[in-house]
Symmetry: C2
Subunit: 353 residues, 2 copies
């Protein structure tokens, strides 16, 4: 706290990202990174862009990248907004669209950055409890509100919401923006991208950090009808003209041009997930049905925090949230087969099974 700060800064509760440990040789299953590398084409495109041309500013409106994404998803450039990771895209969406006089609705258990944005931008929020099965029930959102944001699949649960339920949400709230944060959608959930042209109140947010394996590059995007994208552009252009550098734009474009790599690696992760769920269940875990690249699991007998600490001692990091309703759960990233086996082996020891 300092006398020199702007009002409200001292009251902020910043987001705490999953640990990025400096120690090597850790089995890092805590931040939902992709165990497979990015497309070699993306790496090659970045290398090509690593030249004296870095002295020049990037295209501030990232037209080529937006065209690539638009083509990939069957939309127009004006329906695509790109940003410095989906966290930045979400920040702009909170400011430009979700900041309304009535409260914003989101699940009580969801991506923990949402309440942080609300704190930053002075947005009132109402948290709508998930069901006991940790599911979103869209009927619970039938209440006066300024806007809605959900993650699909939800985080940290990994549970997906069928497209029919999303349609219901959109039709129940024609005068409110509904943001569907699809950071993990490529691992088995139904995407709402196909609904963009049908609903002018829908904004879908994607990232290249998960299924495209480019967390280190920082690229995310939003898809929606032109007026929603225009609002994001207005805020972005009042904040930072050039959020995406030349390397990020080049790498992201190339990533979308390697469909084979994308399909193969995401399929691999889904297959590994199936085996992991099976082994965790056999070890006495209750595992929520996951359509993400992580699973959310609690042991029927052992304390979640203790298990997380025990795994850490064995060089395996998973994420544990000390929060009501989920403090018995571990969120475990689906790594390689070998990483998942190392995890379950360590759990066998810890559980004395």
């Amino acid at each position: 706290m300092s006398r020199l700060w702007s009002p409200g800064i001292a009251a902020l509760t910043p987001y705490v990202p999953g640990e990025q440990p400096k120690i090597v040789n850790l089995n890092k299953l805590n931040t939902n990174e992709n165990p497979w590398g990015p497309s070699p084409r993306a790496l090659e495109a970045i290398r090509s862009a690593t030249s004296d041309a870095l002295r020049l500013y990037p295209d501030p409106s990232a037209e080529q990248l937006r065209d690539t994404i638009a083509r990939y998803h069957g939309l127009a450039r004006e329906q695509v907004f790109v940003g410095n990771g989906s966290d930045e895209v979400l920040a702009f969406a909170f400011f430009a669209l979700l900041r309304q006089s009535l409260p914003l609705l989101f699940p009580d258990i969801t991506y923990s950055f949402y309440p942080v944005y609300c704190g930053l931008f002075g947005i009132q929020a109402t948290r709508v409890p998930l069901t006991d099965a940790m599911e979103i029930r869209v009927e619970d959102y039938r209440q006066p509100c300024g806007a809605i944001i959900i993650a699909n699949p939800n985080a940290p649960t990994g549970v997906g919401l069928p497209l029919g339920a999303i349609r219901t949400l959109l039709e129940d709230h024609p005068e409110q923006v509904v943001v569907v944060d699809e950071a993990y959608v490529d691992f088995g959930a139904d995407s709402a991208v196909g609904l963009v042209n049908d609903y002018d109140n829908l904004l879908v947010v994607h990232t290249l950090s998960k299924s495209r394996s480019l967390a280190g590059l920082r690229v995310g995007f939003a898809l929606g009808q032109a007026p929603l994208i225009d609002a994001l552009e207005r805020v972005k252009n009042s904040f930072n003209s050039y959020p995406l550098g030349r390397l990020a734009q080049a790498g992201a474009i190339a990533a979308f041009e390697d469909e084979e790599h994308f399909q193969r690696t995401r399929r691999e992760i889904m297959e590994t997930r199936a085996g992991l769920v099976e082994r965790l269940t056999a070890l006495g875990f209750q595992v929520l049905p996951s359509v993400a690249n992580f699973v959310f699991a609690r042991h029927r007998a052992q304390d979640g925090a203790k298990l997380a600490a025990g795994l850490r001692e064995r060089g395996i990091i998973v994420r544990h949230f000390a929060r009501p309703r989920i403090d018995q759960y571990l969120r475990i990233t689906v790594g390689t087969q070998a990483q998942c086996v190392a995890l379950t082996d360590a759990l066998v020891t810890l559980l004395g099974a």
Copy 2:
């Protein structure tokens, strides 16, 4: 405009960056890019970081980069904030420090992003006129205010402010933050970085886009005492955990480790500037004394807008601002010798000299 936007979005007046033309072979002297490429060491470091490790998130607190910058400037890590270009750093400073109940002061002629941030964050601003010689007179800032921001050298004038005047500003306003935006400081102005440990109300903002020739990478930083940096960190961590990707961090670190390249290229630009000023003066231009990598010049007889248009027809882009007090000026980036000669040759034709 859409019924779905948050309040105030329709009223924003976004910043308009200098044109990034798609046409090649233009003599691009409009966005103050460095005519020399970045350090080869920076390019090499980026290439090394272009690997499967891009699947991993970057260090959210960029400790290694902040340590490098701290060492370079004789400060501690806690006195360094890094962001996605100095525009993002400035945005955070406006929100975290300059947003006060009393108005923010800045010159009437200065970086045109400042009023845009004010619009975005609802900051009241008072513009303090430059003198007729286009200089900042710090005595004019002796008025009730919430905070102050100046650019040194100022943009788009290129005129520098002596360190003594900055000290006066800091001492006149001990209860207000004074931001000194030093984007162009390495081309001959006096830096206030040496004052950081003396004044707890000073924040100095730098960029790697100009003297480090990395506009395409997007890295900027702020230097100040720990409580000011802490305010920026709080806002950044409530907005986007990972504004700097792995490649940006790696390239920026290496850029600071190539002092020889830095010194040689900035000296080259200062020498080229001297010759350009001489030739422009001979052509009938009044050139403001520049300590930046651009000059701000008006012709004694010819209209500024017409000259800019004429240059463009000849494949040379300079920046012209259609704004009161400066609509007769051209802002011309100091390019290579050859680019500057091409510019003055074109001017000779245009002026019929």
